[in-house]
């Protein structure tokens, strides 16, 4: 049966930092509208795998395709790739000298050549989506961590990416602030956004994942639908899920 080709494909990806093998033949794919959750202990390579998708890391061998582009090609058009892919980081990385509106408007104006007035409207729309309408003209440091992270998500969404990557976006937050961020991501999933999520929050992973990839020592140790979280096949995943990390 012919299927629509997946938006993100990793095919036998290898990557080392010096002598350390971080990615040891990793393969997985993400279809349109899919929500793939990458889990594993720290150092298992899950964040590196995610960063390779947006080419923040170069891979040693293998292939990565994103939205029909060969990401590992030496002549990849990085700016085109990154218009298709939005990424949200653990440490928010809002630009401290710009207001929230200016943070969101920056890329649409300077990359897409959007008019400032239109971009500001877009910023307002995106902020409403993450429940921060009243923070349009605030500076990042005036916001709580959870609000900053939601603003960072709005900033990425403003570029209308085809795929969103989330790199442990709640790890820097106090437990009581993670909920508001996770809710925003859940709403995106409900909208049909294609997403790859690296997370430590097992409850969140269970709730949102269509597919799960469990990484262990640089390899995809176990993969499948969200059900593998409740009925793991390998002892490592069982242990990982059991500890609740």
């Amino acid at each position: 049966m012919m299927q629509e080709s997946p938006l993100v494909v990793l095919d036998r990806v290898y990557k080392s930092f010096g002598a350390l093998k971080v990615l040891d033949g990793v393969s997985f794919s993400v279809g349109r509208g899919d929500v793939l959750v990458l889990i594993g202990r720290s150092g298992s390579g899950k964040s590196t795998a995610l960063r390779c998708i947006d080419r923040f890391e170069k891979i040693d061998s293998g292939e990565i395709h994103v939205c029909g582009r060969r990401v590992d090609a030496p002549d990849i058009d990085l700016r085109a790739l990154r218009q298709d892919v939005g990424i949200v980081f653990q440490s928010y990385n809002l630009f401290p000298h710009l207001t929230i509106a200016q943070n969101i408007m920056l890329a649409p104006v300077s990359v897409k050549g959007m008019h400032k007035a239109a971009a500001r409207e877009l910023a307002a729309t995106m902020l409403a989506k993450v429940g921060l309408s009243e923070k349009l003209d605030a500076y990042p440091e005036q916001l709580s961590g959870g609000q900053q992270q939601r603003a960072a998500i709005a900033r990425s969404l403003a570029m209308q990416p085809k795929v969103m990557l989330f790199d442990e976006v709640t790890s820097a937050l106090d437990p009581q602030l993670t909920g508001e961020v996770l809710k925003v991501i859940e709403a995106l999933a409900a909208d049909g956004m294609t997403m790859v999520i690296v997370t430590h929050e097992m409850g969140f992973a269970r709730g949102i994942a269509r597919h799960v990839v469990f990484m262990h020592e640089g390899k995809v140790h176990e993969a499948g639908t969200a059900s593998i979280l409740t009925t793991p096949a390998t002892p490592e995943l069982a242990q990982f899920v059991g500890t609740g990390l």
Binding site: A80, I87, L106, A107, V111, Y139
Partner: protein, 227 residues
């Protein structure tokens, strides 16, 4: 003790001092503008992956920082003349001062650039901004903000150092003083007065940079964070 001080013959030449002070400020302004740009580019260049550019920028910074301004001014002055260029003393002085302050700016701006977390740059790249756009929108202003006190102090020092250009007859404040003292035979009074002029000029310059900071960094103004 027959100390008789007479400031009146010196003070009555105040229009000369005013002209000199204006030229000192003009010199400093030109040098800061050109040198600031050169130094910032040079700080970018030192981080370049192109080895030749990085080495060139490092060599420039070291050469300037380890030789006296006086000698640099003579080199520019006679160097330009010997290859057949004839510029006004003002232009030569401005160029020499710009070359000088550029090296110091480069060193300070490098520290500013290094203070920007990589996460900021990755976030900007992740939003598809080009390299130049990343530097312009995300790195430059926060970097300047970080080193603004050092940078502006360096610029005030440059204004004071511009007195050395009197040695190639740029008609700035110190050159005026030299002329007035030979005219009035009141060297002590003249140089005391001119020293006070410089003190006032540095206060004026500091105030101007403070005001400029309010314009450049609206966040500081809004949130009341001091520089």
């Amino acid at each position: 003790m027959g100390l008789n001080l007479d400031f009146s013959v010196v003070l009555e030449r105040w229009p000369l001092f005013l002209d000199g002070a204006v030229m000192t400020l003009e010199l400093a302004f030109m040098a800061i503008l050109i040198g600031g740009a050169v130094g910032t580019l040079c700080a970018v260049g030192r981080g370049s992956s192109n080895r030749f550019i990085a080495a060139l920028c490092a060599g420039y910074v070291e050469a300037i920082r380890n030789t006296p301004l006086l000698v640099q001014i003579f080199l520019v002055y006679f160097g330009l003349a010997s290859i057949g260029f004839k510029f006004s003393a003002f232009s030569v002085a401005a160029v020499a001062l710009a070359i000088n302050v550029g090296a110091y700016t480069a060193e300070i701006m490098r520290a500013g650039f290094e203070s920007i977390p990589t996460g900021q740059i990755e976030a900007a790249e992740g939003l598809a901004l080009s390299r130049v756009q990343v530097y312009w929108h995300v790195i430059l202003l926060p970097a300047i903000e970080k080193v603004y006190p050092s940078l502006t102090s360096q610029f005030v020092l440059l204004m004071l150092a511009s007195s050395v250009t009197s040695q190639i007859s740029a008609e700035e404040l110190t050159a005026v003083a030299n002329y007035v003292q030979s005219d009035t035979y009141r060297a002590f009074e003249t140089y005391i007065l001119v020293a006070l002029c410089y003190v006032v000029l540095s206060l004026v310059l500091r105030a101007a940079f403070w005001a400029l900071g309010l314009i450049l960094f609206p966040r500081r103004r809004r949130l009341g964070t001091s520089l």
